[in-house]
Symmetry: C2
Subunit: 638 residues, 2 copies
Amino acid sequence: MSTVDKQLEDVKATIDEEVPRRISVSDVTYEGPELVIYTRDPKEFAANSDLVRRLASKLRKRITVRPDPDVLAPPAEAEEAIRELIPEEAGVMDLDFHADTGEVVVQAQKPGVVIGRRGSTLREITQEVGWTPEVVRTPPIESSTVENVRNFLKQEREDRRDILERVGRQIHREPMSDDEYVRITTLGCCREVGRAAFILSTPDTRILIDCGNKPGANGEQPYLDIPEAFGAGTNGIDAVVLTHAHLDHSALVPLLFEYGYDGPIYCTEPTRDLMGLLTLDHLDTAADDGRTPPYDSEMVREAIKHTIPLEYGDVTDIAPDIKLTLHNAGHILGSSVCHFHVGDGLYNVAFSGDIHYDDTRLFDGAVNDFPRVETLVLESTYGGRNDYQTDQEDSERKLKQIIQNAYDRNGKVLIPTFAVGRSQELMLVLEEAMRNGDIPEMPVHLDGMIWEATAVHTTYPEYLRDGLQDRIFDEDKNPFLADRFNPIDGDDEEREEIADGDSCIILSTSGMLTGGPVMSWLDQLGPDPDSTLTFVDYQAEGTLGKRIQRGIDEVPVSGSGRNEKVPLEMTVETVDGFSGHADRQGLENFVKTMNPRPEKILCVHGDESATQDLSSSLYHDQNIRTFAPENLETFRFR
Amino acid sequence: MSTVDKQLEDVKATIDEEVPRRISVSDVTYEGPELVIYTRDPKEFAANSDLVRRLASKLRKRITVRPDPDVLAPPAEAEEAIRELIPEEAGVMDLDFHADTGEVVVQAQKPGVVIGRRGSTLREITQEVGWTPEVVRTPPIESSTVENVRNFLKQEREDRRDILERVGRQIHREPMSDDEYVRITTLGCCREVGRAAFILSTPDTRILIDCGNKPGANGEQPYLDIPEAFGAGTNGIDAVVLTHAHLDHSALVPLLFEYGYDGPIYCTEPTRDLMGLLTLDHLDTAADDGRTPPYDSEMVREAIKHTIPLEYGDVTDIAPDIKLTLHNAGHILGSSVCHFHVGDGLYNVAFSGDIHYDDTRLFDGAVNDFPRVETLVLESTYGGRNDYQTDQEDSERKLKQIIQNAYDRNGKVLIPTFAVGRSQELMLVLEEAMRNGDIPEMPVHLDGMIWEATAVHTTYPEYLRDGLQDRIFDEDKNPFLADRFNPIDGDDEEREEIADGDSCIILSTSGMLTGGPVMSWLDQLGPDPDSTLTFVDYQAEGTLGKRIQRGIDEVPVSGSGRNEKVPLEMTVETVDGFSGHADRQGLENFVKTMNPRPEKILCVHGDESATQDLSSSLYHDQNIRTFAPENLETFRFR
């Protein structure tokens, strides 16, 4: 008998002791990090809501109860009963019955209403029909990304169960080694921005944290070929954890499957969907530029199929000796500070990923409160001694003035921006400014992937800031659905009409003018001295955006077979303070107010001087042992 | 065509250009790090001594010229001619003809005389008979170790050629990677003494430096199971380099072959032989103690078969991007400071191994002069702030006084000591003291492996200090052959007779009274208040030696079925200053006078406080960037 099976026997014995005789337990298995209990009496389990909580706390596992298939009401009959039980205002759109697991997926406009107070409606459903309901939101804005992911996962349900079962057995295997150590190996993003990738290793387990590319530096991948990473073969990695979906953290996750990786990816649900959106777009961009993409879309689907979504705060076994908890990082939708608890109280490491310390319109500031943490791996993007940003209020005031000025000249405002994160923050600023009458009402056109990314945001309002969440949840005043927002559907005629029309605001990708529909806008509006080009994002060296900031007066516009230049007569403005990253002050505050205070900090994900500045100042000002690692180093903590 | 074959083609083309038409070149191959040129005109090559030198410098390779088998004089005829050519005083004992390589192994008492001025006699031999002579010394003291190794290698000649050819092709393969990095991973002996093991890695190559055990801590092996070591499979290691033969550096080298390692081991010839002696004894000890030995003697033979001996100062390609040079380390016979030149001028690292900075009676002090070196990995055994040892002259005076006192009481002096290194140093002290009349003439009995280890020393006088070498070479006044030295052949009757007899000195293993014949001596002499037990070696915590130093008055003596205690009435003395390690002053001087001055130093191979003290003081006093690594860390240098 394998160690997993033996351990399951013990678990079963405990369950048998705890569960009253009249409630049957027909089987107990692992699915990913969860323990699944099959029963012929699902209604009894539902009626004893305390029972599952007690088992979970006793076994220290996440528990799912599933009905035996043959005790279920027939789907047609069940559907009728379920629709009767759920209040109409929930907006139930679709019911999807899965006899293999006894689950029914309920898609609704208001999942909260379906769930009921503390899950009361869900329990009622199970008591009535036996099926276990799982609720998903009908996106308030139709999102092809979310729909594609859901359809794909539905179609791959069987494969996915196999994967989850395999992962479950791996997570719950017995530790093999008598040694004890905790190590971090740096594979990328040390003394540089981009290609984030780390390995957290113990004698039994190796976890890959992030696997990004380096934007603007073609082919710069993390060092995956060394023995500590995939040099030892892909089955040497037990799990991948993804902090967030930006390409410098996620772009090469699908490539792992090309290399033969076959294990789980842990991240939030929105990170999974945005990773799908951004990596597929990454492949398109590569193809458009005539580069060979590093993998094909099949690998993106593999990545999605292997993703085990976690919610903030869930403490999850991801290996025999490692528990993972994700916390809000405040950077983009679904972004996480990843906390690893190693061994039974042996050691705790938090990887910040990218963070924003202060609250923004979209997100609460990053969580820095943990039960325990000895080592923090901290991003340093704005860690330089002068990297203090303008206060967001001042930035907003400046942006509104720019818009007012352009409007007064009957001009237009073109804002190049990243699809995920910054665009939605700006939409909130603009929506409020117009609602309050701070700036005149005018259309806000959204070009590129912005609208799609916004749709993903509205699918997961739980990840947005409380106030914003409420507006979406309860008041039906979803600011993203404001009339003034107009998604462009990739039609050049529409763009020409807009360019010839009245004052308006245009948000368009790419954020650094390295391609995308913004190039077409530049072609149309470049020669118009009444319009204003406004930068709100960081412009990297070598990009057209950076060159325009430096003052070039004509811009190359290639497209539709042309390869010419247009004069740049637009006013050019830059507004900082909208960054998704904590500035120097934010990083210092994150550490200063962190609870508990970490013993060691590795400063990563920043250029050479930003990293060294931050490392040295945290050491001197806060007296914490800090390091500014190089790529390819290994630190031992225990 | 493989890259090696292609590169060989280029080498052949160069050789064809340089060698005059009248001299044939029938084949060119690699054997280990050497380039072997086969010719039908060996006599011509021998006559043009400049030619090989010119080729070596042009090709930057070590070159061996071998005759085609069919141009060789028949062995019987050749033997007669050779014996005629070599002066009689050389003491030729044996000629061994190997038709496959055209080599004749000449065993002689005085190899120098066989070789002649600058190799003139060797060239004469080849010119006369075609055969290539290789000269080995007939040990002045018969050594079963040396004889066994030589016989074994003779018997395994064919296997060995296969190994060398394979290794040769691996060394001369083209580098694969575009990356450039130099890393050191610590597998053992960090903040501890024992289980020395490091990995030096580049994108193309991984070298394991040392692979020892931790004496006194059963089962404490270096971390070989991590991916950076053998976790990635044994073919991930390209070569093993052994600094010296002590078990804390060598004990697990044979185990590597048990794990499937099949590559070369680079070390000096005496290190190879002593490794054979010590690891086989290690297996015997384990078996005697009822422990399961970690490998069997077959693996020791594998290790010996895979050893490629290097001489001090030879610059040798051991990988496409790494050149190794060994230098005298002054610690024990054949011990080396290992200098690695990585890439074409990319980086240089020196591993000190164990060193003695000052000259001793046996050895010159450690070499610290290199063409280039950026990083030094430095032992720290006596790196603690108070680890200053007594001057050797004072120590010798004290030892002589102890002997005189015992003699005056008609007692005996029992000195527990390590077989390799310290014993020979003491023999030189005692021989001189008696020769000079500083102490009375008396027998010096040598028990355990001491005599055998001494025999190995006399086989390789080139590795001993110049003055001592001369005494062995030219004056035939080999101090080790002095009449007063009496090897015990393991006979308990002889021991009893000696114990009952007149004053004498007994050197016996083990050095820390953890077993071995010294226990029998303790049994006999323990109750004799006229005799003196004298410690000259470091006594580790937990050993009987340490407990006696602390003052216990009876000692357990198990053996011949008894398990009892004898009272300890002997006088107990301790004399330091005979250590094979540099003391704190020596380590500081090694760094201070090092040329060039290193940029970084990793302090290793010392207990926690010794390592940290040394690291901190080198940083403060000499302003060099120093580290006190933990095991299992990885440092990147380039």
